[in-house]
């Protein structure tokens, strides 16, 4: 299989409301990514766009609209889509654009402008669920997370206070992220006392809605070695989608994440992810999700993630840091862009370029993961140096 490397990354601030249009955000991130590896648009063979539902930007076929901002003018340009899992999936897609042998340099741009959706970006989700049997109930996005969190807590006897520590950790990590939207020093009590939105989900368990863009540059081995002495290799990719019928499966465990992770680990030759993975960026749109996903990523036994958290092993200075970036809870959740931000974070961490966020001990292998749809999608990428 052809070797593929990530060679550049860029991103905009994550913001509740950006003045920039989606195109402008895309250009800002993409331009920065190209600058970072000293390539120009001429060097780019193809472009992959990652952006979640059109209902956020409120533009039908929004990838078409965004294409010039993403640098796709007169280039092969494709948009991959797996709901909230899109951000990591497009990295996988860029990998196969290059690994196929068709292209040498692929620019990935992930953009989201959720503030365009009124009365509130959450309203977009009511257009997601099954139109016949689910949406007519007035189904809210938060119900799903509340159900899953409740099921997860009940299955393993985990408490809300324990889960709250994810928010505390990630918002604190985000204090060191220059693009973060909601960095904060908060306590478990702050989380517990925050407004109940859909019990057991409280306001500080939830990531914000965001506008922002992130871009990555992928290159073939030959090009990567020519333009950088610090390529970060794509070692494994995986993606998997479970049935849409939510009542047909048990929410306490994300089997789809496990399947996607196994695909990626198999490809990367990873036998024991707990020992071999140095840093992880599991998707954390809600506090419990980081734990839930870490279990799916096989970074611990089922129900055990919370122990690693409570012991401090997942802190930036811990044995295996989770979400050293600050994650969706701290940096912001510009859906597709957030997944790609996680890939960018692993890229920066493995190159030792994460600044104040740098995880000590020269990490060599990292995994980024995103999740999406109706509690259905796992997308995973393993990077290494």
């Amino acid at each position: 299989m052809r070797k593929v490397a990530v060679v550049g990354a860029g991103m905009t601030k994550f913001m509740r409301r950006a003045q920039e249009t989606g195109k402008e955000l895309a250009w800002q991130a993409a331009g920065m990514a190209l600058d970072s590896c000293e390539l120009t648009l001429k060097d780019v063979d193809c472009v992959v766009m990652g952006t979640a539902p059109d209902a956020f930007d409120m533009i039908h076929m929004k990838a078409e609209y965004l294409s010039d901002g993403a640098g796709a003018w007169r280039k092969p340009y494709m948009r991959g889509f797996l709901g909230g899992g899109t951000g990591v999936f497009v990295a996988n897609q860029a990998w196969y654009h290059v690994a196929s042998g068709l292209f040498d340099v692929c620019l990935v741009v992930a953009e989201e402008k959720m503030s365009s959706c009124l009365p509130h970006p959450q309203g977009a989700f009511v257009t997601c669920w099954d139109q016949f049997t689910e949406s007519p109930l007035g189904t809210s996005l938060l119900w799903f997370f509340a159900w899953e969190m409740n099921r997860y807590m009940t299955a393993h006897g985990i408490t809300e206070r324990e889960i709250a520590q994810v928010s505390v950790k990630n918002k604190k990590n985000a204090l060191d992220h220059p693009c973060a939207q909601l960095p904060a020093e908060i306590t478990v009590d702050d989380v517990m006392n925050s407004e109940v939105m859909a019990w057991p989900v409280k306001r500080l368990d939830v990531s914000p809605t965001s506008d922002g863009a992130v871009a990555l540059v992928f290159a073939s081995e030959e090009v990567a070695k020519r333009i950088t002495d610090k390529p970060v290799w794509v070692e494994g990719v995986g993606w998997c989608l479970d049935t849409m019928y939510i009542g047909q499966r048990d929410l306490y465990y994300p089997k789809y994440v496990e399947y996607a992770a196994r695909m990626a680990y198999d490809m990367a030759g990873i036998k024991d992810p707990r020992a071999e993975i140095d840093i992880a960026e599991p998707y954390d749109p809600f506090s419990y999700k980081e734990l839930h996903h870490a279990e799916g990523l096989l970074l611990c036994d089922k129900g055990e993630a919370v122990k690693l958290l409570v012991n401090g092993e997942t802190q930036r200075t811990g044995r295996q840091p989770w979400c050293p970036s600050g994650g969706a809870l701290g940096v912001g959740n510009a859906i597709a862009a957030t997944g790609t931000m996680k890939v960018a974070e692993i890229f920066w961490q493995l190159r030792g370029e994460a600044g104040k966020r740098q995880v000590p001990g020269k990490p060599r292998k990292g995994v980024a993961q995103a999740w999406g749809d109706e509690m259905q999608v796992g997308t995973v990428i393993v990077l290494g140096v």
Partner: protein, 158 residues
């Protein structure tokens, strides 16, 4: 044994729905400035890419061809030519228009791009590609900062 298919029209029943959200869009960095200029000063501005030797209308903050940043803005004369046009006989709801609307892409001299708008003060069958037209703005008091601040383009009388 497989289940029976739907075999009678009476058994069919659609389920109705819509998209119960709407869009609110900022104009962006370039759009904000472009429409403020139209609203307040009644002029069209373009943005130049020196590397590609292009002047963008509508102006942008980036060049779509080379990705360079466009910092230099310049005023564009409000006279242009019809690059292409159509005579629309149906409205957005699909209804027949009583008075057809001539929609055109108006290009300006030396400019990459142009503006899509309607033509006014002209019979549809008199319109031709290459026809010289000028921009007709709404009175300043009625301008809100929108593409609709331009009322229409009309032929320049020779």
């Amino acid at each position: 044994m497989p289940l029976d298919k739907v075999t009678q029209v009476a058994q069919t029943k659609p389920w109705h729905g819509d998209i119960p959200v709407y869009g609110q869009y900022t104009f962006g960095i370039a759009g904000e400035r472009f429409f403020r200029d139209i609203k307040d000063k009644g002029r069209i501005m373009g943005a130049e890419c020196a590397a590609c030797n292009l002047v963008y209308v509508p102006p942008r903050i980036y060049c779509e061809r080379c990705f360079g940043e466009l910092a230099k803005w310049l005023e564009i004369p409000n006279r242009g030519v019809v690059h292409t046009f159509t005579v629309a006989h149906a409205d957005l709801d699909g209804n027949r228009l009583k008075e057809p609307v001539v929609v055109a892409l108006v290009k300006f001299d030396g400019v990459y791009g142009g503006l899509v708008h309607r033509l006014g003060e002209v019979e549809p069958d008199k319109v031709a590609i290459g026809m010289a037209v000028e921009m007709m703005l709404k009175p300043k008091a009625e301008r809100t900062g929108s593409i609709l601040d331009i009322n229409y383009f009309r032929p320049i009388q020779a």
